[in-house]
Symmetry: C2
Subunit: 253 residues, 2 copies
């Protein structure tokens, strides 16, 4: 049973500033708790509610707390009943020589960021670059939407305009040359704008190629994560054609 | 001011069965209300709450109702304050000679269906084929996620296994041959499974090509709408290469 002080600390982790302060975040639900237990992530605590514990076999080192306490700690309207408190991995520098990096400028929706992290993981990438005002990667909705990919893909928050100033950047715009002609080469950065403001740092980039996903119909735009997925698939294909080993197709696929 | 009977009817439109019974659905918020007013959709009523009307210029034929009444009618936790009641267009048959049709087998999440409708609209398609148990296209979350594309793309609900039995179908699976080698030709159907069960009707299809989006990393799967977007972009490209005029790139793109 966590001490009262620990308990108060865990409850504060709903708020991004306390997650940052303590270097801790929570995950909830059996699937993701099992995933963090079996990952290299460092755990501070695993807790289950009394009613959860009365119905389910528990992981090895799991403390039992009252249902009321779990409700106080949970970030969800209906608490799943099992929770892990996880230490944030130490922040890494951006590997700017990676053949391709996905970057986001001001993404605000945690579901979109989580979907994008899952996408990056599918394509074998381990980092996503983000402006400092992008939504927190440890937001519970972001963790949920990433479907476990947050364990393999880290979001690196930086002053985006400064870091990308001289890099080869391909930015997704509503007006630009065709994505299908974009001359991706390694290393490249694929930059996606926010849901409401698009890319804000275009003027500050010295080597920016503005592309658009050609539109055949009348939708005003595509969802940010969707635009990222379609663009990333095209970028990876182009880099594969250029012989970038990282993106060679796995055997029999 | 709607009659008490009309009012009761409108309030019932939260539930899919009453939307079907009356052939009506609601949209809320100024942007989408303006869109339906300027579209070919037939409107039964446009209503604004008193407090909305006190702050905003109203569309021409707009009735004012009390804030409490708007709260009763609204499908959202916080009522946007302006609402239109719209007649469902009459159901159309599937145009099975379209060069490419996007089909979904049991999609359950309204946000995913809305995102997929927006995607279909972007690529110039006017229909999406869906199994009868797919979530309702007039679900408010689906309408919101479609960002207005519901006015141009119609979901055609059918007995999917029966309708697709002899068609050339390309199904998105976690195991299959590479999407990049899939021999799309017109007409083809691109079939996406549900979030939790994937494609359920595979055994009943006589001309099914199982493909997978090659996975380079470790994510277990991709979100259904995301998988649809990446697959659709590839299918459209292949059909363009085969000279299908519908998918020729617009000038200067």
């Amino acid at each position: 049973m966590p001490s009262a002080a620990k308990f108060k600390q865990y409850a504060s982790l709903r708020m991004p500033k306390y997650r940052q302060k303590y270097g801790l975040f929570t995950v909830e639900g059996r699937k993701v708790v099992d995933e963090v237990i079996h990952s290299r992530a460092k755990l501070e605590a695993v807790m289950a509610s009394e009613s959860y514990a009365s119905k389910q076999a528990l992981p090895e080192t799991c403390e039992i707390i009252s249902d009321a306490d779990m409700k106080r700690l949970s970030q969800f309207e209906t608490a799943p009943g099992i929770m892990a408190v996880v230490l944030m991995p130490s922040a890494q520098a951006w590997q700017d020589q990676a053949p391709l990096t996905l970057a986001v400028d001001g993404l605000a929706d945690p579901g979109n960021l989580g979907t994008l992290i899952r996408l990056a993981d599918w394509y074998g990438m381990t980092q996503v670059l983000a402006s400092e005002d992008t939504v927190d990667q440890y937001n519970p909705k972001c963790l949920a939407a990433s479907m476990g990919s947050f364990l393999r893909v880290e979001v690196v928050y930086v002053h985006l305009a400064e870091v990308l100033k001289n890099k080869r950047v391909f930015g997704a715009y509503l007006e630009g040359t065709s994505l299908y002609d974009a001359p991706f080469e390694a290393p490249s950065v694929l930059l996606i704008g926010s849901e409401s403001h698009g890319i804000r740092i275009g003027e500050e980039l010295e080597n920016l190629h503005r592309f658009t996903i050609p539109r055949l119909g009348q939708a005003e735009s595509l969802n940010a994560a969707m635009a990222a997925g379609i663009s990333l698939d095209n970028a990876v294909r182009r880099l594969r054609e250029r012989g970038v080993a990282k993106f060679a197709l796995p055997f029999n696929k």
